[in-house]
Symmetry: D3
Subunit: 294 residues, 6 copies
């Protein structure tokens, strides 16, 4: 238990950080454990509300893989995976969109509105926010690779920030489901890390925070002492090339690089399993996770 004096002192300690980020846009990729565990979920909502109230403009992009899998199972639909990506036929994309937009997104919107934050749910369809195109999966066949069509899995072609800027200007918090629209009006499911990165870039955001289920990046995953606090852009590219950054870390780091190259200020891969990880990163001197910077 803390005394009121302790509390006052801690609030004051946060002041320089509040000053630093006043009026700035911070994009958060919300996913993983922090979206499943009810207690963590509650704390993420508090963090976003606090950001908003001290003058930051948060923009949330969420994932939803587990919910999609759960719902597909419910309707008795099994998915094939190619190179770790779900083969997404017409029925699958329809269900994915329903789950992402009609369930996951609207639940986040609801939780924030109940905390006095005026949140508005969007998908990439709203006001043409995310233009997408098909993304082929890369399959390794011995030494060679080939590109395989796995259906309605997409990548961001263009972000039209109009609706985001209009909403931010009027004090709303946009919550974005990672659905994009193709040239013929078809929907694509897009990796939420990449969507968050593209949006952070398009908005020239101050920061991109990726909430993950790891502590950050290690040079050698088995050696805790090899933890990387700060990774510079050229270094990060080198590490990917050399295979030091591999597996599930690749999309995270690539997302950071994309955001930086398009004009975001700083990017952070942080551990969403920690309570209040967002506040820890933004409002205290304790950097958590790995920051990828220019």
């Amino acid at each position: 238990m803390f005394t009121a004096e302790d509390k006052a002192a801690i609030l004051v300690e946060a002041l320089p950080y509040i000053q630093q980020f006043y009026g700035k846009t911070i994009v958060i990729k919300y996913g993983g454990n922090a979206m499943i565990n009810d207690d963590l979920k509650e704390k993420v909502m508090q963090d976003i509300a606090l950001m908003k109230y001290v003058g930051i403009r948060p923009v949330i992009v969420h994932g939803g893989g587990p919910d999609i899998t759960g719902f597909l199972k419910k309707v008795g639909k099994e998915s094939d995976f190619v190179a770790g990506l779900r083969v997404t036929d017409e029925e699958t994309i329809e269900i994915a969109e329903m789950v992402l937009d009609g369930k996951v997104n609207s639940e986040i919107v609801n939780l924030l509105n109940r905390r006095g934050v005026r949140a508005v749910g969007l998908s990439g369809k709203d006001a043409g926010l995310i233009k997408a195109r098909k993304k082929l999966a890369t399959v390794y066949e011995g030494e060679d690779t080939k590109k395989v069509d796995i259906g309605y899995v997409g990548e961001v072609e263009q972000v039209d920030t109009g609706i985001l800027e209009d909403l931010l200007k009027q004090g709303y918090v946009p919550i974005i489901a990672p659905i994009g629209v193709g040239d013929n009006g078809e929907s694509y499911n897009i990796n939420a890390d990449y969507v968050a990165a593209e949006i952070a870039g398009a908005l020239q955001a101050e920061k991109l925070l990726l909430l993950t289920d790891i502590e950050g990046i290690y040079k050698d995953f088995n050696d805790k002492s090899s933890f990387i606090s700060t990774l510079h852009l050229p270094e990060a590219k080198q590490y990917i090339k050399e295979g030091i950054i591999a597996g599930g870390m690749i999309p995270k780091v690539e997302a950071c690089l994309t955001a930086l190259e398009q004009g975001a200020g700083k990017t952070h891969i942080i551990d969403g399993r920690l309570a209040h990880s967002i506040i820890l990163e933004i409002f205290t001197s304790r950097g958590i996770g790995t920051q990828v910077v220019r």
Copy 2:
């Protein structure tokens, strides 16, 4: 086939109607056949786009009963009905919300955006748009009636028009799924006619248009000559009391009365099975369907 001169003449003929509704808000309940038949759907989208481009501010509220039924069937869930209302348990409301918000709503948004209209999908959760409460079903037992709890079926408690006004002011077309939020953050499925009526009232809309699958209201359904073109508010109440207006017509007429009593200008029950029924009603001298007025 029409000559260019014919076309010019017809455009000019629409001028007085364009003048009359310039800058005015018109709420449209979109449902029934016009939402199922692909050709009609296409024409409704054209009508909304035209409205928008000649300076009207359209607001769309849609239903989606058949889609919900279809999806429940898909997951093997059967519904009971009480007094014509679906008994809606937790699983059902979750699916209803996904279908309405993540499928029906986003499809309409997409169709309009592809026509150059900047549409934004909303549910009653976004920015606290629709506060709702549970609605009990009324069951007749002989001469008596009793109220039955049928789960997450709701009615509008309050409309917060903030987000609608902000979007309209900036030129967006709001598309609204008929989901409301209760005191504890729970979702309610609400009859879209009533949602449209409450929103028309709260926005002090110029007009409320209800797209239905009938031609309008008859004093005697079997006598085509008893068609009612204009129904005044007190008369309408009288007819409901006397049973002249009955069955499926009751919610339609009640929606009109609600909208009128809360400040909407005029209300219209029109036949959505007609191609371009919205344009016919708004831009030509041919009144279609039944108008309910003060």
Copy 3:
């Protein structure tokens, strides 16, 4: 006679054109038969009103030669002409200005206001709209040409668009009489085609429409098959040089070139003798007349 359904279909057909010109400025030179024939006059007013109501910003420049001639006759004043231009002494310019500004202009303003369009009459004097200088007539003497002073006939020196932009921004339709002001405050009568061209250029208008009493431009006036639908800027200059474009067509085409070179989007020489020629050109796929483009 058209059915209401036909009418709706035709309105919808105009939608892409409405979208294309939404918020754009279109300058119309109004003159010739369309200003004399009462039925055509009525239809031009309807066309302008329609443009305004679907979100276009029309700017009208009118001529008035026949009215000036009529009035001069009334006061018993005869005019000499040099190279087709009226020799304009002090008394003549006074009468010309009275007729253009006090009769022709105010009649157009009145007709539009009666159709619910808020029109405001201007001459080049208002808020310094048109700065002018004397224009000498070119007279051919055998092989040589000489410049002859014919009094208060002028050409545009500079357009100050301030008042136009202020009025357009507030939703008014400016109606402009082709009178300019010289360095010493003296008035000049200026060819309305040129005034319209300079204003279209200064406003960076989307389109300039010149209403004329011909169908458009022919390579050979006696061969109907030689009609030119589209004329490109370099070609147009070439044709003038070669004498293919000659006589009364020269000022029309020169006006188009001036507008294009100063930044107007497209220019059109259309047949004002056709009913609703403006709407035909703007809102239907039927191009009428000759367009002169970059």
Copy 4:
């Protein structure tokens, strides 16, 4: 000749008056000698420019009777007068409008623009500024009076100040010709004193100044000592009733009463034959003429 020090002292003396009228609207009826004599005309323009530059919002309404008479003579048209009002047939009103709007008005506009004031000429037709109706002449036959139709002579029915407020807000000086529009679009010539009064009332102007060719009002015209400096509203009505105010003074005083009753602050009948009479009235302690106040 004054020293620079004298001049500075005089400017400073005007300061309290400048403060008092900063941002206020003052309507001036401009007519009589001040509009004929070139030197006076020049000085009126200087006065208006000064008003504008020290932050006052002047609105000018002008007459033009002598010019109309002159022009009618030119076209060989003779006028009958009934009860001092010109019988105004269709040809006469056309000429009156041309002279007022196309000559007198545009000359004032031009003179002001040349002094760096952005003046814009208006007639009652522009943007529906003055709605008018026919005014019958009152003819005395012995003890009785009868009403006689004298054609297109009108009175103000309604002033729509929209265009005036839009222009004033953007720093323009509106110059208004006393032409009104009837229900069928017909023009009416209206007494400029009354037009100025109605406009002063509709704008809730701080002051109405009527420039006349007399020194002000006398109780007994032959007794210079009976000059009235200040006349209160009830007194003024009494004097008219009793015939103390008679003849040409009646419309002047009635105009003042109309302006006051509709909300103007103060009204002044001043001697336009004095150089800089406007400045004398507004910026010095020397009241000139007769003020009619509430």
Copy 5:
């Protein structure tokens, strides 16, 4: 020492208070020990900066008695006191104003600007902020009282909030020295508690905080258990009448009553000797001191 997680939790705990006061105006009377002790001074500045950064609009009114006394001593000027008020001759008010405006005020402004808060120093003279009049001292002579003129000691006659509202709207923090201006331009020294109260009232502030050197109000000063946490307006008046509130507490409580009666929300007498007393009061559940409410 706190862990980062503790800190995050505490920040989140402050969220409801941040929400509650977002965009609200809070007037703080800054004086006493908190203005003398350097450590407390530092903490008050942190508190004000924090308030500003979380969206509150703070307005500071400061005292400065000890500094005035110190400076008077420096110039060898001794003060008489009547009824606890300094007799203030011309020389004294001049020095008081110099000290308050030129030393105390500018030091606070400087401290805040160095923390990134844009503070602007004002006295009651700036833009006519505080109109004052002479306040006579009340002297008891046995049972009777008499009023004694003690020079340039004043009371607030009127607050013109224009400059405050303009500065607050643009994000500045106004720091106000308690000097008022009389009818003849003479300065008055006014009790800062009363100035803060009048300003809180005039701004319809959410709260008035008076920083004092006591813990709050006791019914019986010798009985710590008689501490009053909340005092209602009628009760407070009663206590003053009955002498329960007496001595130095009277002006504090009267200031609270004045603020409440003129429209401030709540008032608080808090202990400025506590570190971060402002934050404790505003951002934690621990109410400190005595609140005086309606």
Copy 6:
């Protein structure tokens, strides 16, 4: 004595000057005799009020050396001078700031507010207006010079015009005391001529007026015929180099050069001992003093 007609004529004569400076910013260094003599002081206030009321945006920077000296004497503090600059220890700067900000500045503010001008007093501390650094005095030792630390005497490092622009935009007149703030929050006394110059430059002012106690600049101070009306920038630099401009004139001319080089339009060294010298310079054809121009 002047007739009202004379007065009107003189007001009109000022019109071109009023037009020329409408909306322009003019910075005035107020000091010397004009700040001591009560009659001159009164006239300067009238001049500033007039400027403001005819649409000019005046900004006043004042000195106050004699008042500081007087007050130091009062507290028995003697000052040393090095190279004409007061050695300024901590006690001295504290008193200087109190006198400048708390006495001289607030007196000017008060005088202007009483004339209906909304003046706001500022020092360089307010909203970080003037960032300063220490200025060393230059002492000549035979042929050499050395730099001597004389305490809290400063020079302008940077002007942050934010607060000035915000106040000017809202119609206030800023009155600035020449105090700057160093990196560690310490105050510096700065020569007011230089402060005015830097502010004129930073605001891109139309004019800088320096009120001095001389008639202007002479090539040879003993030869009245050598008066310089206009001095061009390169010439001025040359004259300083050659010693033609020397002594107390150097800071005046250097201030002019600084203002010009940073973007002010014109600069004037005028004789503040003349009544209404500001008005004479700005509103009449009589140039007074010496203008230093680009």
